[in-house]
Symmetry: C2
Subunit: 251 residues, 2 copies
DNA sequence: GTTTCGATATCGGTT
DNA sequence: AACCGATGTCGAAAC
């Protein structure tokens, strides 16, 4: 799996190593050490020489990491072309995308080590607690939102976007439901308001709006009230009992 | 810089290595090989055993990468606690955050290699083409948006959010300007519409709304027209001449 | 600590 | 290819 490791490689040595590892495909390539990074495309950036970790994945995606944080300092999503050259005695990697046109350029000023290794496509991955999952759960049992609620439609398109969930309440009024998997802010309130307004413009009867989320920020709740809309607390993850079971199983 | 490398370490060997490298601080720790990953917090996920690359940075941030994409399969922003144990003959890393409460758990089923290396805080980093930069440029010379325009205020708070740029046109009308550094979609149009509406409710005179961005989607442009608002093309990066100069300098 | 907002957002689905 | 919306968004600044 670990294909090769170079320590403090010379520029031409590094260039050759990278060229081969990248040509081959299928390998994750890393270089750590003193690098300088230039980016130009949607924006532009310059990182002076400093300690960074470069990672090139088999799909051509590139990332340059500093010592902190999940997000790379510089990156390039799946690239169309990755080249390695040697310029003025320094190995240089150039990663290019065409749409949008972007170029990332990494100069290996003082590489400490370089390595390449395989990373086969892994096993299954399951994520719970997405908005899509919430939607499915509430669609199959709308009474979780409110007793007497019946489903009318999902992702109903309006002229201002798709309504997450449209239902009818016990009194026959239409209910527009906006879902958020996390704490809802005022943007969610505005979305809901737009949908409700849109439905009212084509529906003569009563129309209610409900924001369904695990929590809501105080300002958003205020605005919701001011607009005559409602909030309903709904958990993103399965109920407490099941959640505990899942956690017990995992930890 | 490269502190240590282990190849196909035994569970207890790996556990000891990780514990020491993490206790020490200041090092980036990597493990590649067959891993299984469990996450529970805002959501929950399970990744069956597969080939992944684990990276733990000195700040306690953790990421697990698969063979594709810039985004990790699983991650944990700056954690409050990272522990390593050996359970049932398998080394396990547990990274925990308290706010929000989240736990990431990585089991090293068949580690291929593990390593630790230093990554000192790097040199300077400069990013061009941000919205903040656009705002500053347009504030210092509003005539770029429209001849005769004069600045009134920046980031003016309304009851529905902050207005990027407020100006007055040659005829004395107030102009609400919404900035986007990339292609603007209908969400930007709705934001602008809200701001304009808010200003009109407190200002008796004429109020115009301008969406200033490098580009706009067709549906957004339609909606903009329907609402009586305007679009003005503004580049995020410095002008073509300067941009060329920057690119020439870099590439 | 909470809230808000930008981001080279990335990524996937749909048209 | 463009568009749209979710994201365990992350991360920083303002409050």
């Amino acid at each position: 799996m670990l294909r090769a490791v170079l320590t403090r490689p010379a520029p031409d040595e590094l260039a050759e190593f990278l060229a081969e590892a990248l040509r081959d495909g299928g390998a994750v390539v890393q270089v750590a050490g003193e690098l300088e990074v230039f980016y130009s495309g949607r924006a532009a950036s310059v990182a002076e020489a400093g300690d960074y970790l470069l990672i090139v994945k088999p799909d051509g995606s590139v990332q340059v990491h500093g010592p902190r944080g999940v997000k790379p300092l510089n990156w390039q999503p799946q690239t169309d072309d990755v080249r390695v050259t040697c310029e003025d005695g320094v190995a240089v990697l150039v990663a290019e995308r065409f749409t949008p046109p972007e170029t990332l350029r990494v100069g290996f000023v003082a590489p400490e080590f370089a390595q390449a290794f395989e990373l086969k496509d892994g096993g299954s991955f399951v994520l719970l607690g997405t908005e899509a999952e919430m939607q499915a759960a509430l669609a199959s049992d709308p009474s979780v939102i409110e007793p007497g609620l019946t489903l009318v439609d999902l992702e109903l398109p309006t002229d201002v976007g798709g309504i997450d969930l449209l239902a009818r309440d016990a009194s026959g009024a239409l209910v527009v439901v906006e879902l958020k998997r996390g704490r809802a802010g005022h943007e969610a309130v505005h979305q809901l308001a737009r949908y409700v307004e849109s439905v009212r413009s084509v529906w003569p009867g009563a129309v209610r709006g409900i924001l369904a989320a695990p929590a809501v920020t105080a300002p958003a709740l205020n605005r919701l009230g001011a607009l005559g809309l409602e909030f309903r607390e709904v958990s993103a993850l399965p109920g407490p009992k099941q959640e505990t079971a899942v956690q017990d199983a995992l930890f």
